[in-house]
């Protein structure tokens, strides 16, 4: 498949490995985005609505959650990976491989997404929340029917940024045998001084990231109303 490339940049890896690693990346990013997105949005919403003066003001929850997120964001990814091994094994049956990597990736991206979401949600006009409150909306309705839709455009951009961050993080998940393009780039390209592999994997990553960003930009723009 790649034989037609000039020698200097012809990768030393098989196209099967490349395709497989592409699949692994998509698989890891997809699943961990799903979970960390849900968790991150939940945490982000909680961080916003429990803060002083907000609709579900709860000093205890806010002041517990806030540092927990900070702690998770403090730990270097590799150490997080290790610290989570027992939990990963309990959850996934195994602590190695592509599937197992989803757990630490979720722990990595969840709190990160929470922070981005928090920032987006704080920009919602307080008047909107007042209107919701005055209509007798329940707290859940205020969140799901007012705050989230109003912040949607910014949320989509935040999720885009987070997704691209996840793509980057999968490269590190190679430590537990997760594979993925980033890992191939590092182990075959970088460590083996194989410029061809480096080039093609980085190109693939660029295509992925470019695609994700375009998708994010377009969908965010489509729902932006100002």
């Amino acid at each position: 498949m790649l034989e037609w490339l000039p020698e200097a940049i012809r990768p030393n890896i098989t196209s099967e490995l490349l395709l497989e690693s592409l699949y692994e990346t998509v698989y890891m990013v997809g699943w961990s985005l799903l979970f960390s997105g849900v968790i991150g949005i939940l945490l982000g919403v909680t961080l916003v609505v429990t803060r002083p003066g907000h609709i579900l003001e709860n000093s205890f929850v806010f002041h517990t959650l806030n540092p927990i997120i900070n702690v998770l964001r403090s730990v270097p990814f590799i150490i997080l990976l290790v610290a989570l091994i027992p939990f990963t094994r309990f959850l996934m049956g195994s602590a190695i491989g592509t599937t197992a990597a989803i757990v630490p990736l979720v722990f990595y991206a969840g709190p990160y997404i929470a922070r981005l979401i928090e920032n987006s949600l704080l920009e919602v006009e307080p008047g909107i929340i007042e209107a919701a409150d005055a209509m007798g909306a329940s707290k859940a309705q205020i969140i799901f029917r007012f705050i989230l839709p109003e912040a949607l455009s910014s949320l989509l951009l935040s999720l885009t940024t987070a997704t691209i961050g996840l793509v980057g993080a999968t490269a590190m998940a190679g430590a537990i045998g997760a594979g993925g393009i980033g890992d191939v780039a590092i182990t075959y390209g970088y460590q083996r001084f194989d410029n061809g592999t480096m080039l093609i994997t980085v190109l693939l990553l660029i295509v992925i990231v470019q695609g994700l960003q375009s998708l994010g930009n377009i969908s965010s723009k489509r729902v932006r109303r100002r």
Binding site: E125, G127, I128, E130, A131, D133, A134, M135, G136, A137, S138, K139, Q141, R145, F146, P149, E150, L152, S153, V223, R225, R226
Partner: protein, 346 residues
């Protein structure tokens, strides 16, 4: 229905303290349309916002239907609020939703069936004249159109109580009048209670039963619209009344006074209720032989009766005028001679 009991609300910003509400007591009876008027910054919005707890009073309490909302549990509070529609001064529309969905929002909150929502929203949009904007987003609307969406949204659930904060401030007189008529209509048909903030005396005149005047966080005067208009006590109230019943001398009267003709006098008669001028006119014209002209007159139609002033221009020989002046002094309508010095233009 709505009762404010010694409500005080202070805001702190930096080392400044603003007393937006200062020991306010107010009672709005069921089915009443109660207007609150006052200068900009008087505390009107704060008052109406504390009715549904958007602002928690610093002290005092607000009762709706005899219930202090502040004592309710979350779910009960939501239920209570669903019975209170609110029109916001700054509209507070959802930017992310179409006009249709904005109006539908309160209905969706109560899980109204889709078909019912469609019917009700269509009806409301057609009433506020925005059927063709159903699929537009708020940012594509003009100021008045946004306000009308806010009105439609507040009415969507047929609330028992309606809180209107400057509901017609961005609207032309024609639209204002049709909105006010609608409010009056639902007030009569459904016995809905309306608390209405406004800075326009004409709004009060048009639909309110009672009115309170606010200044610096205090209610300085209140009463039936009729009594306030006919007999304002506080200078601020008078200013508002004057905004639709001018009390300054009309230009034509001032002009006439400037000519200082000896055989001409100008009298002002204040009209209250059903006063009759027929005997006054007859006496002046027939008995004294005075030439009587109506120089200027402004009357306001307030709930079926007329209030205002008439300026009569009397011309005759000075001695006849002097004679008539004695007659006029004892006349029950108490005509006052206008000399140009006594009053200052507003």
């Amino acid at each position: 229905m709505i009762e404010f009991k010694q409500v005080t609300k202070t805001f702190h910003s930096g080392n400044q303290t603003v007393t937006a509400l200062d020991n306010v007591n107010l009672h709005v009876a069921r089915g009443e349309i109660y207007g609150v008027i006052g200068f900009s910054g008087a505390g009107k919005s704060t008052l109406i916002r504390s009715a549904n707890l958007l602002e928690r009073p610093t002290s005092g309490e607000v009762l709706i239907n005899g219930v202090n909302l502040a004592t309710l549990k979350s779910r009960e509070l939501q239920k209570a609020k669903r019975n209170i529609g609110m029109i916001f001064q700054h509209f507070n529309l959802l930017q992310s939703k179409t006009v249709f969905d904005n109006v539908a929002t309160p209905l969706k909150l109560t899980r109204t069936p889709k078909a019912d929502i469609r019917k009700r929203v269509t009806e409301l949009l057609s009433f506020v004249g925005l059927s063709d904007k159903a699929d537009n987003y708020p940012e594509q609307l003009s100021g008045g159109q946004k306000q009308r969406i806010g009105i439609a949204r507040a009415l969507a659930t047929n609330p028992e109580v309606l809180l209107c904060d400057e509901a017609t401030s961005a609207l032309d007189p024609d639209t204002t009048s049709s909105i006010l008529h609608l409010l009056k209509k639902i007030n009569i048909e459904y016995n809905i209670t309306i608390l209405m903030i406004t800075h326009e005396m004409s709004v009060i005149r048009e639909i309110c039963d009672k009115v309170a005047v606010m200044e610096k966080g205090r209610i300085i005067e209140e009463g039936s619209v009729l009594s306030i208009f006919s007999n304002p006590q506080h200078p601020t109230t008078e200013k508002f009344v004057r905004s639709i019943i001018p009390t300054g001398l009309p230009a034509r009267v001032k002009e006439a006074l400037q000519q200082k003709e000896p055989n001409r006098r100008i009298y002002e008669v204040t009209v209250t209720g059903d006063s009759s001028h027929s005997d006054l006119l007859r006496s002046l014209i027939q008995t004294f032989g005075i030439e009587v002209d109506i120089l200027h007159a402004t009357m306001n139609d307030i709930q079926g009766t007329s209030f205002g002033r008439i300026y009569f221009d009397l011309r005759a020989e000075p001695e006849i005028l002097a004679e008539a002046s004695n007659y006029l002094k004892s006349h029950p309508l108490q005509p006052k001679e206008v000399t140009g010095d006594a009053r200052v233009a507003a």
